[in-house]
């Protein structure tokens, strides 16, 4: 689809640079993510869409299916985003369609993440033959192109409604996250605190739940968001192609009708531009949240936000290999 995955399967760096495993204490550190500017912007946009999804049908000015006599007209006072070729109000379609998009996206994301956690953590923890088998399973699903597979499956289903689509997407999209989780689990498993827990005789179940999972929270969250992006895009593509049922409204269905009715050729930009912008906005919001998580996990990636001001003020160029020399004006030097 649109985005190539940004966090790739790296060997895990632990200790000072990467994830410092915490025993239980996940609290204080985790909340700093909300101070990250990118994450905040992303969450706000997501919140906005979630709100619309929740109250959509109550605030939409018209019933999205209702036809009217204003055919194919551009934005106007009565119809803020114009109408389709049968006079349906596009804005209402957009508003009502938000719920479909978010519900399927989040549902697919949740299911896929659950599967990936189950398989990835088990593979990493168990090792040996079990690991080999599960990894093979994940790799197979990873390599088989997702969209064609989804199309094949969905098109052969009798009634491709929202939940079914979510399930199909989850079935094809879990593999990515499980690979990353497996790598992380492998590295965490060898850490001292896990060995200590084992030596103490803690049951396998408890070790996984209380020692390993808390340290994987950021990665799981990041994987979840990535999968939601994938799910949203896949779902919209499916709707656009016409594979899923066109009776439930989502942003992809709007584009489907736009395409079928030659909106392009007739220059009816208001029919397909807003839907695309919404998709892009939602995708950007999720990606920004992911950036926030990335920077939280790997502090090196931060674009020196806070200190950027100080850098500019002092005109220091921070470079690797050439440490800057900054001599403060005499009065400013404090006494130790």
């Amino acid at each position: 689809m649109a985005a190539a995955p940004t966090t790739v399967d790296l060997p895990v760096e632990t200790g000072e640079h990467g994830i410092t495993p915490k025993k239980g204490r996940g609290g204080r550190g985790a909340w700093t993510i909300f101070r990250n500017r990118k994450a905040i912007v992303g969450l706000s946009i997501l919140g906005f869409f979630a709100l619309i999804a929740a109250v959509g049908e109550f605030i939409a000015p018209y019933d999205p299916n209702k036809v009217s006599s204003t055919l194919m007209s551009g934005p106007s006072g009565a119809h803020w985003l114009g109408t389709t070729n049968t006079g349906q109000d596009i804005m209402s379609q957009l508003i009502v369609g938000t719920r479909g998009v978010l519900v399927v996206g989040l549902l697919a994301g949740a299911i896929a993440t659950a599967i990936s956690v189950l398989i990835g953590v088990t593979a990493g923890f168990v090792g040996g033959v079990g690991d080999e088998f599960l990894s093979l399973l994940a790799n197979v699903f990873l390599v088989i192109p997702a969209l064609p597979l989804i199309i094949i499956i969905a098109s052969q289903l009798p009634e491709a409604g929202g939940t079914t689509v979510a399930l199909v997407i989850a079935f094809t999209g879990w593999a990515w996250g499980s690979r990353i989780l497996r790598a992380q689990t492998l590295s965490l498993r060898r850490r001292d605190f896990v060995e200590a827990a084992r030596a103490n005789g803690e049951s396998l179940w408890r070790i996984v739940c209380f020692e390993i999972l808390p340290n994987l929270t950021a990665i799981i969250a990041s994987g979840f968001i990535g999968t939601v992006i994938f799910a949203v895009l896949s779902q919209i593509t499916l709707a656009f192609i016409g594979v899923t049922s066109v009776s439930t409204w989502n942003w992809g269905t709007i584009l489907f009708w736009a395409q079928s009715n030659q909106a392009l050729a007739q220059g009816a930009w208001w029919w397909f531009v807003p839907a695309g912008l919404c998709i892009a906005a939602l995708g950007t919001a999720l990606t920004l949240i992911n950036f926030g998580i990335d920077e939280f996990v790997n502090p090196r990636l931060r674009t020196t936000g806070g200190s950027a001001k100080a850098l500019r003020a002092k005109r220091i160029r921070a470079r690797v290999g050439f440490t800057p020399v900054y001599r403060a004006p005499a009065e400013k030097r404090g006494e130790d």
Binding site: I144, Q156, I241, G267, T303
Partner: protein
Amino acid sequence: MTFLLRRFVFYVVTAWAAITLNFFIPRMLPGNPVQSLINRYQGQLSTDATQALYAMFGLDKETSVWQQYLDYWGNLFQGDFGLSFTYFPTPVADVIEQSIPWTLILVGVSTLISFVLGTLAGVYIGWRRGRWTDSLLPVGSFFSAIPYFWLGLIAISVFAVAWPVFPASGGYDGAFIPSWDPDFIWSAVYHGLLPAITIVVSSVAGWALGMRNMTVTVSSEDYVTVAHAKGLKERTVMFGYAARNAILPNISGFALSLGFIVGGTLVTEIVFSYPGIGYVLYQGVSSKDYPLMQGVFLIITLSVLVANMLADLAYAALDPRTRQEG
């Protein structure tokens, strides 16, 4: 060597899995789409074709599933994917054969350009941190969140309808017959430009972001500091020490995201009515042409596997450590 061997075995297994999946899906799904299809086309199908369809969809109660499976494999090796409904009575294999070069060229060229541009941009942005280039990141993420096909729609409406710079659809001008004639080739290139540009614009940001993250991480590695300490030229350090190492995970990432890329290209072809395999799939979906859909899926999967293998070869060539370990 062991690395490559393991990967090869993996691909064989995956190919087997894909083919088996393809075989079982129509049999596993509820409802009976095939029966209704067969009923619909009853008058137009020869008995052979109907028989083949029965066999293909497991409705043939006379042979066991295992036997059907073996027959399926047999057919595949002979290149028999069945007959297409949409292009009846053309065999699916022929349809695919005609459309696949278009897709290969479009995907191949755009992905290569996008990868190279994105990687270079990523190295540059990651290397020169704390400057204005960092603000390109949110912009880039916005672009990578735009679905390929929507960008295609916009591109068409702007560059083909409003300002007719590019043709709005098709792989080539309808007046020509495909051949090696330079006029035809020019027409083909001209028609391919807009879809290619769409794909590049929409995917370049993803590559750049990934490469930037890796470059940033690698820049703080000790060997980069050593390279600086040795007084080597900036360009040498940036490319020879940093980028050369940063690109490694991106190559395996590239291989894995081929599946995504294929998906995006598919939809782009649909939007532009570009006569590639994606467009063929689209038509198959619209008319519920199951043999065609399944044949296309199989070919796509196998192509992705081959591309993955090539990426693995590239990785093994670039990272000497893989030649040691398994």
